[in-house]
C-alpha cells in the first residue's frame, strides 16, 4: 500500500511485525510452554555459570554482601561509605538471633535453601574469578549532581579533527590510526575481533576510551592507544565515529532460538532480564550509553562477554553485565554472538 520511503518502511514494517511477534511469543510461552498448573512453576535451573557471589562467599571473603569495603561478594560491590563499612564486621558477628540467623548471618548466597539457583550453579563455575574493583556508592547525604569527565570535551569537539586522527593516528603519541582495525567507515571486517563503531553513540565511545585510560576496561591495544590520547582527542574521535551511518538492521528475527529468547524474553529461572530491555529492540542500542549490539562481529561480542565474566572489563556502571555474563553459559554467549552479528544486512 505504501512504498515511497523504503528504508523507513522497512523499519516500520519490521516493528509492525516484530512487536506483535514478541507479544505472540510471550503469550505462547505463557500459554503453551508453561501451560496449565505448571504456569506458576519457575523455569528449571540447570547447572550453569557461577553466580556472581559464589566465588567470593565460597572463599569466605564476604561476611555480608556489600558491607565490607573490599568485599567482592557481588563481584561488583560498590562499597558503602567508610562509616558503614567500619561497622559491618561487628554487626555481622552478632546478626539477629535465633530464627533469623540461618538466612541472615554469614555469607548470604550460600546459606540459601538447597534448591536455590545460586547453590545449584556451582558445578560449571569458571576458575576463581578475580574480584572486580568496587564501584563507590554515593552517600545518602550527597545530592550533588556529577557530570562525567568526557562530557565537556565531547560537546565542544570538532568531528573533522576526529576524522584526521582516525585515519592518520598520532604515531608520536603512540596513537595508532583507528581505521586500521575498525574499518574505513567504522565498520569492522566480518569474522574479526574488532568492533564496528559506526552506529555507536559519541557518549558511549568517549566513555569507553576514558575507561580504557583509567583501567576499568582493558585491552592490550586499546589501553595503550587511549593512554596516549588527550581528553580533546577522545571527544573528537568519538564525535566523528558517531557521525558515521549505522548499518541497516535486517528486519528479521533469525538466529539461534536460545539467543532470541534471551534477547526478547530473558529467563525467569536465572533472573535474566531480556537483553532488549536495555540494548533496544533488535540490538539497536538505547539512549546515549547502552550500546548497539546489532552487527557487532561475533568474536568481539564473545571477547567482551568473557571480559565481563572474568572481571577484565568493569566499566558497566554498578556491575550489571558482570553479573549477567556470569549467569550465561559459554554456549549461550556463542549463540548470542551469532544472533547479533546476523542482524545487519551487511553481515552475510
Amino acid at each position: 500500500m505504501m512504498q515511497t520511503n523504503r528504508m523507513g518502511m522497512m523499519v516500520t514494517v519490521g516493528l509492525m511485525i516484530g512487536l506483535p511477534v514478541i507479544t505472540l511469543v510471550a503469550t505462547g510461552y505463557q500459554m503453551v510452554g508453561l501451560g496449565g498448573e505448571g504456569l506458576i512453576r519457575p523455569t528449571a535451573v540447570t547447572p550453569r555459570a557461577a553466580p556472581v557471589a559464589a566465588p567470593a562467599t565460597a572463599a569466605g571473603a564476604a561476611p555480608a554482601i556489600g558491607t565490607a569495603p573490599a568485599s567482592p561478594a557481588q563481584g561488583t560491590s560498590p562499597s558503602t561509605s567508610p562509616t558503614a563499612t567500619s561497622a559491618a564486621p561487628s554487626a555481622v558477628a552478632t546478626a539477629p538471633a535465633a530464627p533469623a540467623t540461618a538466612a541472615a548471618a554469614g555469607g548470604t548466597a550460600t546459606t540459601a535453601a538447597p534448591a536455590a539457583p545460586a547453590a545449584a550453579t556451582q558445578g560449571t563455575a569458571p576458575a576463581a574469578l578475580p574480584a572486580p574493583t568496587p564501584v563507590p556508592g554515593r552517600s545518602a547525604l550527597d545530592f550533588s549532581p556529577s557530570r562525567p569527565s568526557w562530557e565537556a570535551p565531547l560537546q565542544k569537539a570538532d568531528a573533522k579533527m576526529g576524522q584526521q586522527l582516525a585515519s592518520a593516528g598520532r604515531p608520536a603519541g603512540g596513537v595508532q590510526a583507528c581505521v586500521a582495525c575498525h574499518g574505513a567507515q567504522g565498520v569492522a571486517a566480518p569474522g574479526g575481533i574488532f568492533p564496528t563503531l559506526a552506529g555507536l553513540s559519541g557518549e558511549y565511545m568517549a566513555k569507553q576510551l576514558t575507561d580504557y585510560r583509567s583501567g576499568v576496561r582493558n585491552h592490550p591495544l586499546m589501553t595503550a592507544i587511549a593512554k596516549g590520547m588527550t581528553d580533546d582527542e577522545i571527544g573528537q574521535v568519538a564525535k566523528y565515529y558517531a557521525s558515521l551511518p549505522a548499518q541497516a538492521v535486517a528486519p528479521k528475527l533469525s538466529g539461534p532460538e536460545s539467543a532470541r529468547k534471551l534477547d526478547v524474553l530473558g529467563e525467569n529461572g536465572r533472573a535474566l532480564p531480556a537483553c532488549a530491555n536495555c540494548h533496544g529492540v533488535q540490538g539497536q542500542g538505547e539512549g546515549p550509553l547502552l550500546p548497539r549490539l546489532a552487527g557487532q562481529p561475533k568474536g568481539y561480542f564473545i571477547d567482551q562477554m568473557n571480559a565481563f565474566r572474568n572481571g577484565q572489563r568493569q566499566n558497566d556502571d554498578v556491575g550489571v553485565m558482570r553479573a549477567f555474563s556470569q549467569r550465561l553459559t559459554p554456549e549461550e554467549i556463542d549463540a548470542l554472538g551469532t544472533y547479533y552479528e546476523g542482524m545487519t544486512t551487511a553481515a552475510k
Binding site: P42, G66, T80, A84, A98, A113, R138, L141, G266, L272
Partner: protein
C-alpha cells in the same frame, strides 16, 4: 455441593509478601502448604519484559495488577449517618491482585516504623500528658516493641536487597545516614539510590534550612545482589515504571523475585492461582477453622481442609474474610463493642506543587518508584509536639517517579482542564514542575471502621466491605503543620517561581488517590477487647487462624507499611514454627 480436596497442613489466603514469606517458611518446616491466590500467575519473564510492560494505559489506567472492581469492590461513606456507595473504579487506593499482590506492583519506598509507632499511646502520654490525645482517638500501643521486631526487619532487609545508608548502627549514629533513623543491627545490603534533579534541589534547600534530608531507602536494588534466599536481583535502571507495574529488571523486590522461586522448588509447597477464597469454614462451636472454601479458576466451588489457616490477603480484604466467616466479634461503633473492623485507617497524605522557571529542567521521566530525597525532622516524635497539640507526624520529600504521558500534566491552579490554554500550560510546565509529597500518620477513631455492607454484593453474592472513614481533627492539624513546612522548603528551592500547598481537608474523599496503605481492622494487641489477634497474629477466638499484613496495625504510622508488613510476617511465622507446630493452641493465654 462443594468438592472437598485432600487435607493440607496449612492453607494460606493470598500470594503476596506475607503469603510468600509464611508459606515458604512453613514449607521449609515440613508443612504441606497451599497458597490460594485469586489472581493469575505473573513472572518477570515473560510477563513483565519490555517493551510491552511500559504500558501506562494497561497497568495504571486499566489497573491490570489491581483487584477487579467490577467483581469485587468496597463501598464508602464518611460516617454512620450516610449510606455507603460502591466504588466503580479505583481512585483512593490500588488494592493488588495476581501473584505477588501489592508486593508486585508497589513502588518500593522502604521504611521501618519508628520505635514510637509501637508505643504511641504510652510514649506520647509520658512525654506530653494524656491530654495530647483528642478524646475521639482510639490509638493504642502495639503488643511488641521495635526492639523485639528489629531482627525481623533486618531479615526482611536482606531478603529484598534494601538500598540505603545506615544512620544508626546498634545505637551508634552514622555520619552519612539519616540521624533520626531507628537503630539497626546491620547496614543496608545495598548503597543508596542515585538522585534525580528535583530531589537534589529539595535536599539542598532543606539542608539550607537546617533540616536533615537524606536519600530514601528503597526496595529497588542498586547493584546486582544475591539475596538471603540465594536469588539474584539486578540493578535498577531508573526507567520509572515501578508503581502499578511489574519490574522487568528483577530490580524491584517482589515475592516472585525474592522468595517464590525457592519456595516452588519444595515438594510440599504449592500455589494455586485463580483460587478466589470465599470464607474460612469453622467447626460448629466456632472455635476452630476446618479449612477454606474457594472458587477455582473453572468456577467450581472447592473446600480445602487445613490444620492452620493464615490470612494473607490484601490488608482490608483480610478483614472482610473474617467478617464473612464469622470469626471474631464485628466492631459496633454505636455500642463501642466488638473488634473486627475496628481502628481502620488510611494514610494522611498531602503535597506542595512546585513550578519552576524555564531554565530549571526537571526531566520528570528520569526517576523510579522510590527514588527520593526525604527528611524525618517532622516524622514520628522527632520534634516537640507540645506547642502543636497533635500526635503523629510524617516525612517530607520529593520523589520523581515518572513523567508518564497520560497521567502527568502539571498545570498551575486556575488553568482550564482542556483546550489551547491547557495545552500551553502543559507545554510550559511539563519539564518545570515537581511536587513535595508529605506522607503522614493516621490515627483511628471510634467512627473509622470496616463492616459488611448491608446493600451491595460482589460477583459471588457476598456482601462488599464497607469503609466508614473521615479524617480526625488531629490529623487535619498535623497535615496543616506538615504542609506548611513543605511550603517553606519549596519556596527556598532554587528555580521555584510558584508553590501551591495542598494540606488535607475534610471530608475524606474516595475519589482522590491517597496511597494504597489501608491499615487496621484486625488490630494486633494484648487485650481481646481491643484487638482481633494476639501478639503473634493468632486470632483470639479461633487459634488455628493467623492474620498477617497491614490489617494488624492498630493505627497507621507516617512511614510506608511494607517494611513492617515483612517484619511482622517473619515474627509471626517464627513463632508458629517454634511453638505452635509443636503444640497447637493459644500462644497467649
Amino acid at each position: 455441593m462443594a468438592k472437598t480436596l485432600p487435607a493440607v497442613d496449612v492453607a494460606i489466603v493470598g500470594g503476596g509478601w506475607t503469603g510468600a514469606i509464611i508459606g515458604k517458611e512453613l514449607a521449609a518446616a515440613n508443612q504441606r502448604v497451599v497458597v490460594l491466590e485469586r489472581g493469575e500467575a505473573r513472572w518477570p519473564s515473560p510477563d513483565f519484559q519490555g517493551p510491552n510492560v511500559h504500558d501506562e494505559l494497561k497497568y495504571t489506567r486499566r489497573h491490570a495488577l489491581h483487584q477487579n472492581a467490577a467483581s469485587e469492590t468496597y463501598t464508602f461513606r464518611n460516617n454512620i449517618d450516610q449510606k455507603a456507595l460502591p466504588m466503580r473504579r479505583w481512585q483512593f487506593a490500588y488494592p493488588g491482585t495476581h501473584l505477588g499482590g501489592a508486593g508486585n506492583h508497589w513502588s518500593g519506598a522502604y521504611y521501618r516504623f519508628d520505635p514510637t509507632d509501637f508505643n504511641i499511646r504510652s510514649h506520647y502520654t509520658e512525654r506530653y500528658g494524656a491530654k495530647i490525645f483528642d478524646a475521639d482517638l482510639t490509638s493504642q500501643d502495639w503488643p511488641m516493641s521495635y526492639d523485639e521486631l528489629e531482627p525481623y526487619f533486618d531479615r526482611f532487609d536482606y531478603l529484598i536487597g534494601a538500598s540505603g545508608q545506615a544512620g544508626n548502627l546498634k545505637g551508634q549514629k552514622q555520619a552519612d545516614g539519616n540521624p533520626f533513623e531507628p537503630w539497626r543491627s546491620r547496614p543496608y545490603p545495598n548503597p543508596p539510590m542515585k538522585v534525580p534533579f528535583a530531589p537534589a534541589l529539595f535536599g539542598a534547600a532543606a539542608k539550607g534550612l537546617g533540616y536533615h534530608p537524606y536519600v530514601q531507602p528503597s526496595a529497588l536494588a542498586t547493584r546486582p545482589y544475591v539475596n538471603s534466599e540465594g536469588l539474584h536481583m539486578s540493578a535498577c535502571v531508573y526507567c520509572g515504571f515501578c508503581s502499578n507495574f511489574g519490574c522487568e529488571h528483577f530490580a524491584k523486590a517482589s515475592p516472585q523475585v525474592c522468595i517464590l522461586p525457592v519456595a516452588m522448588k519444595m515438594e510440599n509447597f504449592e500455589i494455586r492461582t485463580g483460587a478466589h477464597v470465599l470464607k474460612v469454614e469453622l467447626t460448629e462451636d466456632k472455635k476452630r477453622a476446618r479449612g477454606v472454601s474457594y472458587v477455582d479458576a473453572a468456577g467450581e466451588e472447592v473446600f480445602q481442609p487445613a490444620e492452620i489457616v493464615v490470612m494473607c490477603a490484601f490488608s482490608i480484604n483480610n478483614v472482610r474474610l473474617l467478617l464473612l466467616s464469622g470469626i471474631g466479634k464485628p466492631f459496633d461503633p454505636v455500642t463501642n463493642t466488638g473488634v473486627v473492623g475496628r481502628n481502620y485507617t488510611h494514610q494522611t497524605t498531602s503535597g506542595v506543587n512546585l513550578f519552576f522557571d524555564e531554565a530549571t529542567n526537571i526531566n520528570p521521566f528520569m526517576g523510579a518508584g522510590a527514588v527520593a530525597v526525604t527528611m524525618d525532622d517532622f516524622s514520628a516524635d522527632n520534634f516537640d509536639h507540645g506547642p502543636h497539640g497533635f500526635v503523629g507526624g510524617g516525612y517530607l520529600q520529593i520523589q520523581v517517579v515518572s513523567g508518564a504521558p497520560i497521567g502527568y500534566h502539571p498545570t498551575p491552579k486556575g488553568t482550564p482542564s482542556w483546550g489551547s490554554e491547557w495545552k500551553k500550560q502543559v507545554k510550559r510546565y511539563y519539564n518545570h514542575s515537581a511536587s513535595i509529597t508529605i506522607t503522614g500518620s493516621a490515627q483511628p477513631t471510634r467512627g473509622t471502621y470496616l463492616s459488611l455492607d448491608p446493600t451491595y454484593k460482589d460477583a459471588w453474592g457476598l456482601p462488599l466491605l464497607r469503609i466508614t472513614y473521615d479524617f480526625p481533627d488531629n490529623d487535619i492539624r498535623m497535615s496543616a503543620f506538615l504542609t506548611e513546612k513543605g511550603d517553606e522548603i519549596g519556596r527556598a528551592m532554587k528555580g521555584v517561581v510558584r508553590t501551591e500547598p495542598g494540606p488535607r481537608k475534610k471530608p475524606f474523599t474516595a475519589t482522590s488517590y491517597q496511597s494504597t496503605h489501608l491499615t487496621g481492622g484486625t488490630a494486633i494487641g494484648d487485650d481481646p477487647n481491643t484487638s482481633v489477634v494476639n501478639r503473634y497474629g493468632q486470632v483470639w477466638d479461633v487459634p488455628n487462624v493467623f492474620v498477617a499484613g497491614a490489617s494488624l496495625f492498630p493505627q497507621n504510622s507516617g512511614y510506608n507499611p511494607t517494611g513492617t508488613v515483612g517484619a511482622t510476617a517473619y515474627w509471626i511465622v517464627e513463632k508458629i514454627k517454634a511453638d505452635y507446630l509443636r503444640s497447637p493452641g493459644p500462644l497467649v493465654t
